[in-house]
Amino acid sequence: MSPARTFAVLTLGLMGLAGPWARAEEAVVPAPERPRFVLPAPSAPRAPRLPEVKSSTLSGGAKALILTRPEIPLVAVSARVVWPEGATATGEAQRDGWLLNALVGTGTKVRDGGDLEAALDSVGAFWGLTFGAEGLAIELEVPLGGEDAALALLAEAVLQADFRRREVRRVSRDWRDGYAVLPYDIRELHDRAVNHLLVPADHPHRAWDVAGDQRGLRAGRAEALLADVLRRGQATVSVVGALGEAAALALVERHLGGLSGREGAAPTPVYEPGVGTWLVDRPGFASAMISVSSPGLSRYDPDVPLAQALIDTLAATFTSRLMTELREVRGLTYGVNGWIWSGDAQGRLVVAVDVPEGKVAEAMGVIEAFLNVAFAGGVTAEELRRAQAGAAQRTAQRLLLTGSMAPWLVELERRGLSLAQHEEDLRRLLAATPADIDRVAARLLTPERRAWVVAGDREVIEPQLEQAGRPIDRIVGAEVLAEER
C-alpha cells in the first residue's frame, strides 16, 4: 500500500466514513438554497354537478336520451336492444348469440363487410356492433357532420343484415384458432378456471364452450336471432355531443325510429358460487397469476358505492393497502388489481395480482391476512376520505368523454337507474362513515366464501403451498381445462 493510500485509510478510520477532502468540499461549496413547499389543507370532496339529460320516445316506442354538449364537435350515439331470453340462454341458443356477435357488421343486403367498414371509416367513425346475453349494442362516435351517414350505415348493418357463408367459415376458423391458443394463454386459463370454480355447470354464466363447438354453425340461425331480438326486444337510444335536442332526436328517429319491441330481459338465475383453491398447471411460465374472489352485490344493492370504497381501500388504487404492501414494501409485483362486478342478480369482489412463480405462497399469505383484517373492520377516516374523493373525481372525469357518456346513459336507463340515481349514490357515499364501510366488509369478505385461483408452473407452486399449509382443492392441467365444459 502506498503512503498516500495508507494515510487516507487511517484518516477515514479516525473520522468515520468521510475523508477530510470531502469535508473541505462541503465547507467551500454551500448547498444551494432550496425552498420548502407547504401543501394547502385538503378540501372535502364534492360531488360534481351532473348534466340534465332530455328524455323522449321514438315513434316505434324506443326510449331516447339526449345530452347536448357543444364544446367539442363530436357526436356519439349508443343503442341497446334487449335479448329477452339472453340471461337464461344456454346450449344452442347461447351459441347462436356468440355467432351473431361474430357476424354482426360483416355484411348487409346491399354491401359486404369490407365496403361497410370502408364507408364508416371514410366519415371518420369510431364504431362498434356487438351482441351478448344482454342484447344488441350499437356504438358510434363521429366528428360532427358525419353522424347521419354513419348511423345510416350502422342501421343498415343491423336492420338489413345478410351474413355470407364464407364469414361463417371465418368465424369457425377463428374460434378453432382461439381454442388452440387457450392452453398457452395464462390469462385466459386463469379466467376460465375462475369461471369453472365459481359458476355451476348448468348456469348460463358458465363459459362451457370447447373446441368442438365451432362445428355446424349456420348463418341463418344468427340472422333469425337478430330478427327476433329486433322485433321483440325493448330498445334504448342515446345521443351525446354537439347536436341540439331536435337535431339529435331527428337523427335517431330517422335511422332507429322503427325499433318497436317491448320485451325486457328475463332475470338471471341466482347461483351459489363455489369456494376453495384451484391450481392451473401451466409449465414453464416464470410468472404466476393469483386471484381471490368473494361474493359481491347485485347492481341494485344500495351498498354498491360502499363496496367500491372498500375495494379502493383494499386493492384498487395506488394508495390501497395491498398495493402498498405487495409492491412498495415487498417488491413482489408491478401492480395489484381490485374490482367489484355487479350483475343484475349477484356480483363479485376480486383481488388479483401477478407475481414471480417463486413468490406465490408469500403473496397469497399477505392477501389473505389483509382480507381478514379488513373483514374484522378498521377502515380509517383517511382511507374513506380518499375513496370518497376518488369516486367524485371518477364521475367528473367520465362526464368529459362523449364516447363513454352515450353508452353509460343507455346502461343506466336499461337497468332502471338514472344519472340522478348515480348522483344520489355518490352523495350517500360522501356521507358515509368508516363504520358503514366496515359493515360492508363484514358482509363481503367472509373467509369461508373465498375462491382462489392460481395459474402457473405446478412444479414450483405446489411445494410452496404445501409448505405454507394451504390445501389445494383441485390441480388441473392447461389442456384439460381448455377442453372442459
Binding site: F37, P42, S43, G114, D115, Y184, Y334
Partner: protein, 458 residues
C-alpha cells in the same frame, strides 16, 4: 380557452368546426429558472390535468457516466419509479397519499425520448400537485435509501417479467435490437436489461436527477378549469421557486448505419408463430411522417385494407395482422406483424411481399387514402376531450414543432396527404433494407423462415 363553442346544428355552422376546435391558444412562457410553462383553460368540468415532461429518456441511459464508458440501461425508467419514493418533507408514499386525499390520480411514463409525470384530478388539487412536483424536483435524492432503490429494482424486474411473458411485447425487444445499428440508443429496451438493473447503484440514479431533473430541462403543461393567469401565479409560487439548474448535458445522438436484416429467429414459449418485418423511417415531426402513418392504415386497418383482406378475409392465411409506425426524436420505424396458426411463416411472407409489390408499383387509390385520413381526423378531435391526453400532446407539440398549439396545423398535414405522397413514401422507405424476424415456440422451429440466425432479446 379550449376550442370554440360553435352554433348548434340547425343554426349557423362554422365552415370546419373540427379545425376551429383544434385551434388552441394556450398561454406559453418560460420562468426565470428555465422551466417552460404551457397553460390551457378548459372550462367543461371542474377538473385539471398536469403534465411535467423532462427531456430525458432511455436514449440517454447509455451515455458515459463516472467510471463507465457506457451507462447502464433502464436508468431513466427506474428513476421515474424513484420519483414517487419520497423527499425529506414528503417521505415515501406521501406523494400518492396527498393527491389521493383530494381525489387526484397520478401516473408516469418513460420512453426513449422523455420522462413524463401526470396528475389528473379536481381543480382543488392543482396547488397541491404543483407543490409536490416542485418538492420532488428540488429535493429528490436526499431521502433516497439503498433499500428503496432495491425495492423499486424488484418492482421494475417484475414489470419486465410481464413484458417477457407477453407474446405481443417481448418480440419487440428483439426487433428494436435488430432494426437500430450498433451503438444506437434505441436498441436497448426502455426497462433496461436484467444485468444492468441488478447492478444499478443508487448514486448513479441520484446523479441522473442532478443532470436531467432540473427546471431548465422540463416543460410543465396544465389543462383545466382555471384562469390561465391565476394558474401561472400558482406555478410561480411553487415550481418557479426551484433554483435554476445547470444546463443538462448534450442529449443522445442518432447513429447512422444499417440494421441487421436477417432473416432472424427468436425462440419463445408462445402460442402461434409470428412474422415481423421492420424498416427504419423518419424522426417525429419529419414531413413524411403523416404519409407513412396513412400508408400503415392503407395496409392494415380492418376489412377492405390491403393486408387484412389478403391475409385474413379473402384468404385464411393468418390469424392476426397489424401495421404500425413509431417515430421518436432520433428516428422512426415501420412495422408489419403477421401471426399464423401452427403453419410455416414463409407463405405469409410471400403474401405480404406480393401486396407490397402491388402497392409499390401502383400506389394506393384516392379512396383508400381518404378513408385513412378521415380516421386521423377523429383521433385528433377525440383527443381534445381528455385533459390528461391533451396536456401530453401540447408538450409533445412544443418539443417537435416549437409550438404547443400545433394541433390544427398537425391535422392539416394529415389532411393534405395525397395518394401520390403515400406512393412516394412507400417507395422511399419500404425498401430491401428491412429486418425479417420469425418468432416461434421451441417445438415450432420448423415454421420459421428458412436460413434464419438466432437472436436473443437484450
Amino acid at each position: 380557452m379550449l376550442g370554440v363553442v360553435f352554433a348548434l346544428t340547425g343554426l349557423t355552422l362554422a365552415a370546419d368546426p373540427a379545425m376551429d376546435a383544434l385551434r388552441l391558444a394556450p398561454l406559453w412562457t418560460t420562468l426565470d429558472n428555465g422551466l417552460t410553462v404551457v397553460i390551457l383553460e378548459d372550462h367543461r368540468a371542474p377538473v385539471m390535468a398536469l403534465s411535467l415532461r423532462y427531456e430525458v429518456g432511455a436514449a440517454e441511459d447509455t451515455q458515459p457516466v463516472a467510471g463507465r464508458a457506457v451507462g447502464r440501461t433502464g436508468k431513466a425508467h427506474l428513476f421515474e419509479h424513484l420519483m414517487f419514493e419520497g423527499t425529506p418533507d414528503y417521505p415515501s408514499g406521501e406523494y400518492d397519499r396527498r393527491l389521493a386525499d383530494l381525489g387526484a390520480d397520478n401516473n408516469a411514463w418513460t420512453d426513449h425520448d422523455a420522462t413524463v409525470y401526470q396528475v389528473q384530478g379536481p381543480i382543488d388539487a392543482l396547488e397541491t400537485a404543483l407543490a409536490l412536483e416542485a418538492d420532488r424536483m428540488a429535493w429528490l435524492g436526499e431521502a433516497l435509501g439503498e433499500d428503496v432503490v432495491k425495492n423499486q429494482i424488484d418492482v421494475v424486474l417484475n414489470e419486465r417479467l410481464g413484458d417477457e411473458m407477453s407474446d405481443y411485447v417481448y418480440p419487440y425487444y428483439s426487433l428494436d435490437w435488430l432494426l437500430w445499428p450498433e451503438g444506437h440508443p434505441y436498441r436497448w429496451p426502455v426497462l433496461g436489461t436484467r444485468a444492468d438493473l441488478n447492478s444499478m447503484p443508487r448514486d448513479e440514479l441520484v446523479a441522473h436527477h442532478q443532470r436531467w431533473g432540473g427546471p431548465a430541462n422540463a416543460t410543465l403543461v396544465l389543462v383545466g378549469d382555471f384562469e390561465a393567469e391565476a394558474a401561472l401565479a400558482l406555478v410561480q409560487a411553487t415550481l418557479g421557486r426551484v433554483p435554476r439548474s445547470p444546463a443538462p448535458p448534450p442529449r443522445a445522438l442518432d447513429v447512422v448505419g444499417p440494421g441487421l436484416i436477417g432473416p432472424w429467429l427468436m425462440v419463445e414459449d408462445l402460442a402461434f408463430p409470428q412474422l415481423h418485418l421492420a424498416w427504419r423511417t423518419v424522426p417525429r415531426g419529419h414531413p413524411d411522417e403523416p404519409a407513412l402513418d396513412v400508408l400503415a392504415m392503407v395496409m392494415s386497418y380492418g376489412r377492405g385494407t390491403r393486408l387484412d383482406d389478403a391475409l385474413l378475409y379473402r384468404r385464411a392465411v393468418a390469424t392476426d395482422v397489424s401495421v404500425s409506425t413509431a417515430n421518436g426524436r432520433l428516428g422512426g420505424g415501420f412495422y408489419v406483424f403477421v401471426q399464423r396458426a401452427d403453419k410455416p411463416l414463409a407463405p405469409a411472407l410471400r403474401v405480404v411481399e406480393r401486396e407490397l409489390e402491388r402497392l409499390l408499383a401502383d400506389g394506393p387509390s384516392e379512396d383508400e387514402v381518404r378513408r385513412a385520413v378521415a380516421s386521423w381526423r377523429v383521433f385528433f378531435i377525440s383527443g381534445l376531450e381528455d385533459p390528461e391526453l391533451l396536456a401530453d400532446t401540447l408538450g409533445e407539440c412544443l418539443r417537435v414543432y416549437g409550438d404547443p398549439s400545433c394541433l390544427a396545423a398537425e391535422l392539416g398535414r394529415y389532411e393534405a396527404v395525397t395518394a401520390a405522397d403515400v406512393h412516394r413514401v412507400a417507395r422511399t422507405y419500404l425498401n430491401e433494407d428491412r429486418v425479417l424476424l420469425s418468432v416461434v415456440a421451441p417445438e415450432d422451429a420448423r415454421f420459421a423462415l428458412p436460413e434464419s440466425a438466432t437472436v436473443s432479446p437484450p
